[in-house]
Amino acid sequence: MSLSGNWYLALSAVLFAIGAFGLLVRRNVLVMFMCVELMLNAANLTLVTFARMLNDIGGQALVFFVLVVAAAEVVVGLGIVVAIFRRRSGEGTTADDLHIMKG
């Protein structure tokens, strides 16, 4: 018999919290993206845990789609980052450098 699902849910809650904290605190755009990936992984772990607890394959199918959407999101997001910082002929990649629309 496998471990109770509560442990997995608690772990994914902590993982999500770490990702959210990093997203709020870090200023580097790339590291902020990685923190978004952490939060997505926490949600995936929750879905797989519920799929096991409810004996339902639907949770795993949803994780499959989340993987695809995460891949698409990273491709487009990093494309935007590259486009922005190539146009600005690159200093740092911090979010504070993007003040071009500041009044």
Partner: protein, 255 residues
Amino acid sequence: MLGVLVVQVAVATKVDAAVFAIAAFFVLVGAIGVVVARNPVHAALMLVMTLFGVAVLFVEQQANFLAAAQVIVYAGAIVVLFLFVIMFLGVDRRENIAFEPLRAQRPLAVGLVASSLAGLLLLGVAAHWSVGAHSVAGQLRGQPGGDVAALGRAVFTTYLFPFEATAALLVIAVVGAVVLARRPPQARRPDREQAAAPGGDGPPGDRTAGDVVGDPMDALAQAVANAVASGLVSLPEDLPEGQRQEEPVGESAAP
């Protein structure tokens, strides 16, 4: 709350608990490493550690296909994409984490995350999570072929339309990435005029990988145009007027 968890652990086998503990350790260490690493490359490698830990937890919960997809897609493709962008932008240097322009940002972040995490955990302890209808989309256990075949049947029957929609989404993402990675066409115009002039090498400060490839091709296109103008060669007559000069340039922009 802890008593309930301890009793549940006692029921589970020791191997499962040990696997969970080790994988959870790697997941949390990697996640904290992503947040505190000063070098983005180190953050990406810490992210790989977390993703592997999550893959182990997937295997532990009878999600074998998703564990393989996690390693291939996340650790194999997404992290490599991250590292590629880090190297491409040349930002693989240490940054000063202590610098924070917004003074209230960090205390607010700590308070917000801590309170919401506490709320989540309290909710998890207070509520019974196994609610709702069991096995709406098919059983996970006891299917012929295991969870991989069960997932395949679910994706290609119950979730066929979302599956097709994700195919369209991937095509849109690829097209969007190509459009975003292209250089804007109006930025090419001054380059092409300066390529014919001696010493004209494009505006300084706008050097990208496209320039290195683009400049000789632009010079070639200019030479062809000069040859046509001086009557040395003649282009086929069925081409429209605008297409003669644009075609070699457009091909050089493709990579």
